[in-house]
Symmetry: C2
Subunit: 348 residues, 2 copies
């Protein structure tokens, strides 16, 4: 008989803040590069063709003495019944004896660690003192991407919001963004989020309908759409821009003009996974982007690879999302839940 | 917010019986053959080389309107500290909306469904009226294999017990086997296991130290060892014998002389998985056994393939264990837990 801790989505919301999530995600990338974290093969499947799918991401996080998996489901028609499209559950095990430690509702965890991924890309690859961020995509993830970017990169003072298919949605997000951001905990040291709310007030948010002209002033881009065709043309991207590509995580998805990869410096969370299901999949399969030229972001974080070489480089971070992000954040959640006596312990 | 049911190993023990487990496992194989159940790729990994490993088996069980996975860990050194070597956890989701339904401690579930697999092989592939079963292996699984075989094949009246490395262990199991079998629920209709205990009394159990002579009188064999070399020579197996191979489920494992596969009729739970990690892996990789000649057991159960063609055929069932067995049994457990109000519901 074992005891397992059940940690609900509300529990996770009460524990997680942006600063610690970003630290965990950076650490996951670094430990992977240092071979102290092991990514296992992705399992993905259509459940109902075109309407529902799932994937299982698993790995071993030696640093935290744990291993486990996260299963994420997407059910497109749930919205019609007023139910959430995404469900995510993470199971974490003890690397010392294989016993289960925790079952975590990983909905909020996934939103936070995915936001952190985009932000870590900007932090390590964009030009110093990046001031203007352009967000392509206005779904649920948009606020988490902006929140994490503002947290990881304190110089950002302006955020452009663009929806490639529906201008109105960009305006709606512009109107609600400060409220949404205020609802995300920024730092475990920022009592009642007061400093964070001050910070948000100093940032300008604009809905834009001309992405080409927005890109002229942009230092960093985050793409977070479910698109299956290029939304940004190569010639629109000015020298020095960094792009964190978050949306593409399944075969057939794409947000950037693949010819951009001829000249840009490309980084990925995991080169195999990104090449098969990420933003770079088309460029790799067409032979535009040789796999050998792709760098893993963990090696930039641990100092064993260069990020950008000059102010004029265009850099791209292709993040498909890896189990080690989930495990690193889960490790933090479990330790905090233990300290603060959060969650429900059940005999299993 | 969702509610998930946590079902402990003791809960599972109070629910599961052999008859229903065998029905579920048969059904899993049949539904797979009928394309109403989908097996997803196996993930397996060493956690500590030679000392600990894990695998994740997942699938979609359309028939039960659910999908999910089971993670099993093996930690060789746990025994030293008086802890169990194996841990298994199953997570089950609703195929209508992706929501989690249950987290099940799948230790007992795994033992029962693995016993059922060996028995289903005998039921569908051995000669009619099989009387003598020989069990090769005396570990924790041995009693479950015997129990399921006696349940699925009522004509068995004698069981030989053989340990290829330690004769004493065979004698110890012979002494304890009736007690062990009595502790496993046989049928949901058999109040207090009374008929089952009567049945066990009529069966003879012998520890044998000469496997060659034991095989001369044997109708059905179950191999359930962690061996990585052949324990049974081709020339020892008399015409008409059926062998259910349960032990081999990882690269490098083997229990039978691979040249047996030149002439035997071969069946598997899943041909891909068996060819890569099951008993037939060596024969397949050496070219002794053409993949095209292997049949899936589900097609025998649903009547679309012949089992044995004559009383003299040697038949082999290679069972590596598939997620659909777990999901079919989990489906039964969840429905019964709901009816009988067993398990702990937790908001997640």
């Amino acid at each position: 008989m074992n005891t397992i801790k059940i940690i609900s989505d509300d529990d996770v919301k009460s524990i997680l803040d942006l600063e610690n999530t970003i630290l965990c995600v950076e650490n996951a990338y670094r430990q992977k590069a240092d071979k102290r974290a092991t990514l296992l093969p992705l399992v993905s499947a259509d459940l109902v063709e075109g309407k529902a799918d799932m994937d299982i991401k698993s790995g071993i996080y030696q640093t935290g003495n744990l291993f486990g998996l996260k299963l994420v489901t997407w059910f497109g028609d749930n919205k019609i019944q007023g139910l959430p499209n995404l469900t995510a559950m993470a199971m974490v095990f003890d690397l010392k004896n294989g016993f289960p430690i925790a079952l975590i509702n990983a909905g909020y965890l996934t939103a936070m660690r995915t936001g952190a991924a985009g932000a870590v890309g900007i932090k390590y690859l964009a030009n110093q003192n990046a001031e203007v961020l352009t967000l392509v995509g206005t779904g649920n993830q948009a606020a988490f991407q902006i929140a994490a970017a503002l947290t990881a990169v304190p110089t950002i003072r302006k955020v452009n919001i663009y929806n490639p298919r529906n201008e109105k949605k960009a305006h709606l997000l512009q109107q609600s963004i400060r409220t949404k951001l205020s609802g995300i905990n920024n730092s475990s040291n920022d009592f009642k989020n007061e400093n964070w709310i001050q910070r948000i007030k100093t940032v300008e948010f604009y809905a834009v309908n001309n992405i080409q002209s927005a890109l002229e002033e942009t230092d960093a881009v985050i793409t977070i759409t479910p698109s299956s065709q290029a939304l940004i043309k190569k010639e629109w991207v000015k020298p020095g821009t960094h792009i964190s590509c978050i949306g593409a995580d399944l075969p057939g998805k794409q947000e950037l003009d693949e010819t951009l990869f001829r000249t840009a410096r490309i980084f990925a969370d995991d080169i195999d996974q990104a090449s098969s299901v990420g933003e770079i999949q088309t460029a790799v399969s067409l032979g535009i982007l040789p796999i050998e030229s792709i760098r893993e972001i963990g090696y930039v974080i641990n100092g064993n690879e260069n990020g950008r070489l000059s102010n004029n480089d265009i850099t791209v971070f292709d993040s498909t999302g890896i189990a080690l992000q989930d495990l690193a954040v889960a490790d933090y959640i479990i330790r905090t839940a233990e300290e603060k006596n959060i969650g429900t312990s059940v005999t299993i």
